[in-house]
Every structure is written in structure tokens, then in C-alpha cells.
Symmetry: C2
Subunit: 273 residues, 2 copies
Amino acid sequence: MPGAPHPFDAALRLTAIGDAGDGRFAGHTSLAYANMIGPFGGITAAALLNAVLLHPARLGDPLALTLNYAGPVADGAFEIAARTARTNRSTQHWTVALTQGGETAATATAITATRRTTWSATDIACPDVPPADDVPPAAGMKRVAWTGNYDLRFVDGAFPELSGDEHRSSASRLWVRDLPPRPLDFAALTALCDIFFPRIYLRRRRFTPAGTVSMTVYFHADRALLAAQGSEPVLAAARAQHFGSGYFDQSAEVWSRDRVLLATSHQIVYYKD
Amino acid sequence: MPGAPHPFDAALRLTAIGDAGDGRFAGHTSLAYANMIGPFGGITAAALLNAVLLHPARLGDPLALTLNYAGPVADGAFEIAARTARTNRSTQHWTVALTQGGETAATATAITATRRTTWSATDIACPDVPPADDVPPAAGMKRVAWTGNYDLRFVDGAFPELSGDEHRSSASRLWVRDLPPRPLDFAALTALCDIFFPRIYLRRRRFTPAGTVSMTVYFHADRALLAAQGSEPVLAAARAQHFGSGYFDQSAEVWSRDRVLLATSHQIVYYKD
């Protein structure tokens, strides 16, 4: 008899509405992935990607995803509609939306692609950090349920005391994996790209209402690389680029245990002064 | 009597189809912005943004744009449809598509926002380069019409000889402005984010079919900053992050003459081995 599903899989569960080829799915938010208000943005991004992954017409694996957080997602049921905008020989373009009661709460575009082996090179350096086993796990943040589903091991840039002077750096580097451990796949990698608390907390050392407005993920990993990673921790790094007029942007990378680049990700985040 | 419009404005010209509030516009490709095949990606991105800018229901100015190049754009007429997915108090979410003969050639999501003055900081360093006047203009590339509409002054990472050994760096830094000079606006800034030839040319020093699949722009500039820039050159910098399995990603920044960050941008690019 199979055990209960992993909380991540339970949170991502979608049921086709009508014909599967219509690309309409019913889902439900998960309290296990609740943020301070509404769900963790990473789980929402993973849910929209999952609608593409479940679509019977899908070609290839995720190459790029842009997720726009258009409005609050209320606890409860939602619907996701994924449709192909265009299918080419080796790429497929998707538009996706999450609605609740007919109102759009998130929009996305995704590109799936068949990949083939080519010349390869990584021009950015993997952070030089100790292995995950040598870094102690962070204590969970009680007010934020979703952090309980991750083993977070900060090398630097841990959640700061929200008091004191401005800090020079907006960077964090951490080892992270799902709790309980779960083999890495495209949906989990997507969620991990949003694992970073708002950079403004690190930089200003004060509580500031903040929330991601748009996130983009570029998938460098293929299935073989994800399979090789298994359920080991990945190395995640993020830093802000510019804060101004109520928004900052952030760039991030996720590396495998063996220091192979799995994904790069960028986001723009609202903050209040 | 007014003179002929700037070629950029001519290329961006859109005519409302039916009621302006429907968000449907007719446009036409411009040979002045032709690339080797089809139009320069930057002009296509600017055209889709322009449909949002012309929409009578628009709230605020551009904050984020993701442009997906779904298929070739043929020389000739096209239609762009922009619709609001959601309007909030200070942000508005848009979905946009460019079609030709009913087939989708590009999709986009855009976010417009009203900005307000807040605490501000730039965490990345502006490249330390000589002023534009001290850098000689590059010769135009004859096979690529659109480059004739830009004054390109490479500090480093100019278009390389496509022969010889692999090169270590995929980075370019250049001063650039429209030709003839034209005051910077959101559409022109969008096009400038795609000014960089494929990084794989720099890295491998051989001709490789390549094309942008998806580009994201985060707008840090507001109208006042754009107005202060006028038609002076901007400083643009880009570099690749990872090449593999037929795609590489690139990150870029555009800085004002006064070294203020105007936009950050990222893209994922197809290449053939």
C-alpha cells in the first residue's frame, strides 16, 4: 500500500476539468505551503508549470517559465488553464493562467523544448562553499509554514535580525532540499528558484512588506541531470541588483550537489518603504 | 511642416483595429530594422510593448516585460492584441500576442505600475569604461540592416572574427544610441535590451545559427530619468551564464550616461552546434 504523497506532490495535485486536451485543471492551495499571506510563490509557480507538464500535447521539457503574480491567491480551490500558443519542431510556447472565482490571480508563459547534446560551457562560477553536511540547518520560521517543508542550510545571508543598520550585501547562499527529501524534478526546481526571502530584509534590516511580482526561470538541467541529483541538497544563491521606486530585481542560480548549473532565475519584487 | 518620423517610430507605428479599448492593433514590419531573417528581435519586443503603451486603459508605466519569440515574423503586416489580465491599485498585468495570418509569432506578458519614491540602492557596479566620446563607433554590419539604426561603440566584446580558437569571455560593453539620435523612451529602452549579438559568436568564434527564444526586461527607469537621458548614448553590458543542450542564457544591464541603472534584462537563446 503506498504511503501518503509528499506534501509537495499533494500541493501540486491537479485534476483535469473536461477533456484533458483542453488544458483546464482544478487544484487547491495547501496549508503546508502557506506563506504569511496566501501560498508560497514557489508553489504557485510550480502549480502553473505542472499544468503544462500534465498537458497531453506537451512537447519536450521546460526551457523557460515566466510567472506573473497578478493578485492574491486565496486559500481554497483554483483553476489553471494551459494552452499552446504555438508548436514548432523542437519548441512549444504556452500561455497559462490561474483563476479563482473567474478572477485571474497569476499568469504565465512557458516554453518547452526537446534538447540535444551540444557544445557546453558555464561562464559563471559556482559559489565556493562547504558541502551541505558541513552547514547546520536553519531553524524554521514559525510564522511561515512553507519553510517547514525545506531543509535550509545558509552559508551566508541567512534571515537577519530585523533591526540595526543597513547591511552592505543582499546576497544569500544556501544548501536546500525538500523535507522530507524528494527527488528533484522540474516542478520542485521551479519552486526552489523562489526560495529566497525578500532581499530588502537583508539589505535594510527592517520589516518591509514585499512580494514577488514576476519571476523567470531558465532551465539548464535536463531529466538526466535531475535524476542524478536525486534528493540531495542543491546550492542556491541570490542577490539583488537594484532597489528603487518600490521595486527591486533579484538574480539567482541553483546548482547541483556536483556543482553543475541546474537553473538561473530572476525576479522583480514589490516593496513598501 | 513636420519631417519624416524617426525610423524607430515608423517601425513601431500601430493603428487601432475597431474600438481602441479592444487593444487590437495593426502594424507592419520595417526593412530598416530587418535582421538576417525577419525583424530585429528588439523592434518586435518594442512593438508588443507599444500596444500596451497605446492601450487607453493602461495604468502606470512599464515595470516588467517578457517577450517570447514563438516563430518567425515574416516581412509584412502583423496584428498585435493586448489585453489586461488584471488591474490592481498600483499594478496592471497584460497579456499580449503578435499574429500573422492568424498564427502566433510572439507572445508577451507585461506589467505596468505606478511608481513612487522609496529608499533606493544599486547593488551592482556600473562598468568602469571611458565616456562614449572616447570610444570609436563600430562599422555597421552590412548583412544586418538594423545595426545601421544604432551608433554602437564597443569598449570590449565587439563582433569578433568568426574564426580561430574559443574565447574565454562572452561579455560585451558598449555605448549605444539610436541613429539618428532620438530621445530615450520605454520602447527604445526595450529594443536596446536586445542590442547584443549572440554571445556564442564571442565565445566560440565561429558562425552558429542562433536566435532569442525569450527575453525579460525589468524597467528601473521612470519617465523623469528617461527624460534626463535625452538622446545621449547609454552604456549596455551583457554576458552569457551557461551554454548547454542547444540554449544559452544571457544577462544584461543598460545604464544612463550618468551611470544610473535604467534596466536589467535576461534572455535565453537557441543555438545550433
